[in-house]
């Protein structure tokens, strides 16, 4: 196993690299305007990668100055560089491991004092630091002027005043970066003195310096301070590099005890107070208050938007707008983009072997299946673009933080987080959405446990593809109380999601890292078009790349499970006979015409059928009259003998053409039936039958099982599969509703059956695309399988419970529905009062504990 830390050899290799091309890190606190500085420095040349092993985005960009190339890595925005949160660990690991040539510390000029805490930590790590004193314009508008020269002098580093959003200070910053990177070590930069702790720092420092490996890897004074603070990652580093970590740990322990005894304060607290004293000393000297007691513009806006009574109103409005623009309008946009995807499919289809009369070879069907799977996902791209742009606007404007503020109380009761709102909305809380963007939007949730719980519960929302089945069942079984049932469906899902979130956070997710809801309320900013668009495109591209690679593999598995072992021979014979009969009819029609010879063997006929299908497609795709004529000319040139049949001009060919159309229609029908019967006889189909003994408690027969299983690939197919399974009467053009009703009455199906089915469908596992998204967002196949298995079992249990008890008590469908609703609501409210297992007396519990035994 490769260690996370570089060995000595790697470190040496890094140190001897030529220095015309340098790499720098961009570090700073959240809301300091780090990404605007990143965009200002790098312009368009940037991309998103991942930090190894974690799902934290790593933005990398570069630019050239007169000396060479500068690679810029944007570190996660963190308030500090401790080991308490994932982002902080990621940022710190990167700094220690990659040792960038310079670090640009972005600091919000309005909150310099707080920003300095972070700067001090960077300086303590002996990095060459340049400070970008950002948003000086906002600070001045709020009545604070910072003397950057004085600040540079006090800190002993370069300080450049910038306004990232307007590109001010760009050249100066680039120059200072180059200058700082050239100087071998940060000389003369401020050293924070820890007065009474110094003696302990010195003694720990001496023991640490015995290890050369450690001295190469990390700055020792920083290490000594971190060990005295009790930082868990520092102890890991110590164990990794130091030959006798036990001695050091022992010394640290005794030093901490001695210090606490003498001063009655922990070294951690003491260090903080020293840093705070230093920060306030600097602020006092550098910040000129030109206007006291100004009320910020942001606060004026918040007096309205966050008004206790009005806040929910604005929130609902915002949510509605996002939903309307991304899901509803985005869905309309997909009608415009679909032809492009259809064209790709047609092109691929053209390259593959021609279709057979009734069945295609696997060489044709498998690639097409994969193209279809990818297309299904690419179809969402317009929705995602709009969605990501809107999310970027929400983030940049600062309203996202306000959403979390307003709703945190509700979600927190169920172990979720204020920022779980958006994922749930996109997942389709009330009227239908899509779990895929919902799961993607969980990225911003800072609390790991809440984030996982949100990912696992978003799929319970009403996705758009669930609606057809609901509609079907409601129209059959609940015609009298349609609106109540629809209301039931749209609200029961959120209730169930909250119950499940609470269950998950109290059980499987119990040990996960949580983080307190302590958040800075950012100032409102006008979002910048370029930054919004860039983020929207970047995130969409990441989606395409990640999903594209996984979906191919999963699609092959599902294909095999749905297509094999294939349709039995006797059924195939039956279809073959029907096809033969149709062909005979056709051949009788063309008897004695000039085409009889041309089409007397099956191959000739098959070619004609395929050519005519392609011709019709091409004609449909041709939008203008010229294009349509061009298609005609092309086909006439390629198939001179057959063309009269494609475009009939005289009476004879018109009659044959009509007959050909009948044959083609019959072929299409038979192919559809074969395809669907193949599913029934497939491994999934057999599974459906095998599950009947279990699912009978929920009132599902094998037909329903097959429909449910096959709908895993795509929800839309559930109604289609049911259509196949309830086939009797299909030829008489009786709608599926009536067919199911008729058969249902014969088999004793009741509204209770329908209720159980709807409940199961509401709790059904996420579709293929969403499970892949779960994998992408959690970074683990384990959670992906969990997201499939848990809802299946839970949904089946709920459906069985409702069906079995409903039958036992003799309840009607509506009665059972009401009873279940009340029960679920009581459970949810009851659960919200149960204490979170993550909280103990002192507050939430954290996995990263400060301990002396690593």
């Amino acid at each position: 196993m490769k260690s996370r830390w570089p060995d000595l050899f790697e470190i040496k290799a890094q140190m001897s690299s030529p220095k015309n091309n340098i790499s720098i890190g961009l570090a700073g606190q959240q809301n300091a305007g780090k990404s605007t500085i990143f965009n200002m420095l790098t312009g368009a040349s940037q991309h998103i990668a991942n930090y190894p092993g974690v799902t934290v985005d790593k933005k990398v960009g570069n630019y050239r100055d007169e000396h060479g190339r500068v690679e810029v890595v944007d570190l996660p925005g963190t308030y500090s560089l401790t080991s308490f949160s994932l982002e902080e660990r990621v940022a710190r690991d990167f700094l220690l491991r990659e040792k960038p040539d310079a670090i640009v510390n972005v600091v919000d000029a309005s909150s310099l004092r707080r920003g300095l805490y972070f700067t001090f930590q960077l300086l303590e790590m002996s990095f060459p630091v340049v400070m970008a004193l950002n948003m000086v314009d906002v600070a001045e508008a709020n009545g604070r002027r910072v003397d950057s020269e004085k600040l540079a002098q006090l800190l002993g580093i370069g300080v450049v005043p910038t306004v990232g959003r307007k590109g001010r200070g760009k050249e100066k910053l680039r120059q200072t970066i180059r200058q700082t990177a050239r100087e071998p070590k940060a000389k003369g930069s401020l050293r924070i003195e820890y007065d009474r702790l110094e003696e302990h720092i010195d003694s720990v420092y001496d023991v640490l310096s015995e290890s050369k490996a450690l001295a190469m890897a990390v700055p020792l004074r920083w290490m000594a301070v971190k060990l005295l603070e009790g930082d868990s990652e520092a102890f890991k580093l110590l164990n990794h590099y130091h030959k006798q970590p036990e001695n050091v740990i022992e010394l640290v322990r005794s030093s901490v005890e001695a210090f606490e005894e003498k001063t009655d304060i922990s070294p951690g607290d003491y260090i903080v107070s020293c840093r705070d004293r230093e920060a306030s000393r600097i602020v006092d000297q550098c910040v000129e208050v030109i206007n006291t007691n100004t009320v910020h513009v942001s606060e004026k806006i918040d007096r309205v938007l966050l008004h206790r009574g009005l806040a929910p109103l604005f929130l609902v409005l915002t949510v509605y707008l996002i939903y309307e623009l991304s899901i509803v309008q985005g869905y309309k946009l997909t009608f415009l983009t679909w032809p492009a995807l259809a064209w790709i499919r047609a092109t691929v289809a053209g390259l593959l072997p021609d279709p057979g009369m009734l069945q295609d070879t696997i060489l044709r069907s498998l690639p097409l299946w994969m193209v279809d799977s990818v297309n299904t996902l690419l179809n969402y791209v317009p929705i995602f673009l709009i969605l990501f742009a809107l999310i970027a606007i929400l983030e940049d404007s600062g309203y996202m933080a306000r959403i979390a503020f307003i709703l945190d109380r509700v979600f927190h009761s169920f172990g979720l987080h204020g920022q779980s709102t958006l994922p749930f909305i996109l997942g389709g809380v009330f009227t239908g959405g899509c779990a895929v963007p919902g799961i993607m939007a969980t990225k911003g949730i800072p609390d790991e446990r809440s984030r996982l719980a949100t990912i696992l519960t978003v799929p319970y929302m009403n996705c758009l593809a669930k609606i057809p089945l609901y509609t079907l069942l409601v129209n059959i079984y609940f015609t009298a109380s349609r609106s109540y049932v629809m209301l039931f469906i749209s609200t029961i899902t959120i209730i169930m999601a909250m119950i499940i979130a609470k269950i998950l956070t109290s059980t499987v997710l119990r040990g996960r890292e949580t983080s307190p809801f302590i958040m800075e309320m950012p100032n409102y900013h006008m979002p910048m078009v370029t930054s919004v668009l860039r983020r929207a495109f970047d995130r969409t591209w990441v989606y395409i790349k990640k999903v594209g690679t996984i979906v191919i593999a999963v699609a092959v598995c599902v294909y095999v499970l749905l297509q094999f072992p294939g349709i039995p021979d006797d059924r195939m014979e039956h279809y073959q006979k029907r096809m033969d009969a149709a062909i005979k009819d056709f051949q009788a029609d063309i008897q004695g015409t000039q085409y009889a010879d041309l089409l007397d063997d099956e191959q000739g006929l098959l070619d004609l059928l395929n050519i005519s299908a392609r011709y019709r497609e091409a004609k449909l795709a041709a939008s203008t009259q010229e294009a349509s004529r061009a298609v005609d000319e092309r086909y006439e040139a390629r198939y001179p003998e057959l063309f009269p049949l494609l475009r009939a001009r005289d009476a004879e060919s018109r009659a044959i053409s009509r007959s050909l159309r009948n044959l083609a229609n019959e072929r299409t029908t038979l192919r559809t039936q074969i395809r669907e019967e193949t599913i029934v006889h497939s491994y999934f189909g057999s599974l459906g039958k095998a599950l009947e003994p279990v699912t009978q408690f929920a009132g599902f027969d094998w037909k329903i099982n097959v429909a449910l299983i096959s709908s895993f690939a795509a929800r839309e197919s559930s109604v289609a599969t049911l259509g196949v399974l309830f086939q009797e009467g299909a030829d008489e053009n009786i709608p599926l509703e009536e067919r199911m009703e008729r058969e249902g009455e014969a088999g004793g199906n009741t509204p209770l059956h329908a209720l159980a089915l709807m409940l199961f469908f509401a709790l059904y596992p996420p579709c293929l695309a969403a499970t892949i998204m779960v994998k992408v967002q959690t970074g683990s196949y384990k959670w992906m399988f969990f997201s499939i298995a848990f809802p299946t079992i839970f949904g089946l249990a709920v459906a069985s419970g409702v069906f079995t008890f409903g039958t036992m008590l003799g309840l009607s469908g509506i009665q059972a529905m009401g009873a279940f609703y009340v029960l679920a609501l009581i459970t949810a409210i009851g659960l919200s009062f149960i204490r979170d297992p993550g909280w103990d007396q002192g507050g939430p519990r954290y996995t990263t504990k400060q301990e002396f035994t690593p």
């Binding site: 107070s273 206790r308 509700v410 800075e520 309320m521 204490r835």
Partner: protein, 102 residues
Amino acid sequence: MKRFRKIHKLSTECTECTLGTEHHKPPCQVLTQVKKGCRCRIRRHNAHGAIRQRLLDLGFVPNAEVEMIRCATLGDPLEMRMGDYYVTLRKREADLIEVQMA
């Protein structure tokens, strides 16, 4: 259950600051008891680990001045002003911070 009642009770106190009633004021309070519009100074906090670190990072250091701005619609979390910026906390966390009226 007892804890819930406490939180519930506190949430009703998100009302206007009443500066006139100085004799009512206890010498030391926790941050959740500070009323809207009132200012106070932080004495110390009883938080540990990540919460403590986060509070310190955001400037909740001894002697820092805090002004209570508002609470959310459902009474939790709270928003307060720390000099030039605004911070929100859950009551659970604000309960850990001891303050002194300014």
